[in-house]
Symmetry: C2
Subunit: 201 residues, 2 copies
């Protein structure tokens, strides 16, 4: 990685961590630069605006989430139901770690930005919309497997189910963040099985 790319990466990493632990608006370009040990002029050499930086942060977030959580959790070595359980465990462990680290359950980094920015920055809203799409695809994949395995009725609308599951996951993370209590994830998320009608077999 060239010198310039390293600088850009430091900016992305600083922005990601600062915005996730606080919010888009509360973190200024100045603070991101200071954290990344980069001058403001350099920031605007790499990014035309704070908004553009954020879109790239979101892309990076998506890749990291897919690689480090979604793919391992939904690997096809287990039954669909067990994969969901593993995913819930991942999510729980992660929020526990965040709470130890920051003192707060931070919830979903995409959901946070979505609710804060959707009415104010159309390119950010569109980007989050696409990220959610990527998660759908993963969910749909598991649900198809579940259907093939007979754990799901063959006439159910997989696409709708995937959206419902995502919504429920985001909602549970919101509640956990509001209560600042990761236990809620363990308590509530398993119920996703009822939501999508997974049959125990």
């Amino acid at each position: 990685m060239s010198r310039g790319q390293e600088t850009k990466q430091r900016l992305l990493d600083s922005a990601q961590h600062l915005m996730y632990s606080r919010s888009y608006s509360d973190v200024g370009v100045q603070e991101i630069c200071k954290d990344a040990k980069v001058q403001k002029g350099s920031f605007y050499h790499f990014f035309p605006s704070k908004s553009a930086l954020t879109v790239e942060v979101l892309e990076q977030l998506k890749m990291q989430m897919i690689e480090s959580i979604l793919l391992p959790a939904f690997a096809k070595d287990l039954t669909p139901a067990k994969r969901f359980e593993r995913f819930i465990d991942y999510a729980y462990q992660y929020q526990v770690q965040l709470k130890e680290q920051y003192g707060y359950v931070l919830g979903c980094p995409m959901g946070n930005i979505a609710l804060e920015m959707s009415t104010q920055d159309e390119t950010i809203r569109k980007k989050v919309e696409m990220l959610f799409e990527s998660i759908f695809l993963v969910f749909i994949d598991v649900l198809e497997d579940a259907q093939d395995a007979g754990e799901l009725d063959s006439d159910t609308d997989i696409n709708e189910l995937a959206q419902a599951a995502l919504a429920y996951g985001e909602g549970v993370l919101m509640l956990a963040k509001t209560r600042n209590d990761p236990q809620l994830i363990k308590l509530l998320l398993p119920r996703v099985a009822h939501l999508i009608g997974l049959k125990a077999r």
Copy 2:
């Protein structure tokens, strides 16, 4: 209402509408004052800080929501299942109206603030936590009715169910806001019946 109380009310109303349609951070004290036609000095006569104003806005929000949506939707003139259907209809209609008015689905005003402010302002986080509690109570009430009517198994944990339902509702609203599409509410929310295991009778 005395002259002072009218001024205070105008500040609360302006703040509520501005923050809901944008965000806490994006709306400044200055703009709230301008919208309410009040001088800045008066603002700080009535509220010690922007944060304190927001807590009162949240309280007002709760009262309005209970009075104009929760109580009418969950009135005991219908079966529990039908009440949920009516509630979904209310939520859908409301977001449709918001989209016509502002061009955007605004989602849940409490959820929005919760995700934006929970890690930054403890008194706001606590306040939203309490608002969610109030909604639980309403849900628990319906669920008890459902249990009495035999539409719910008698050994199910009502409290947990109420939380799951709230989480799902918030999640669906988040998705609807991110997609800027109120239809999602109509598509996804009815599935709350599966989530809480309501038997059709």
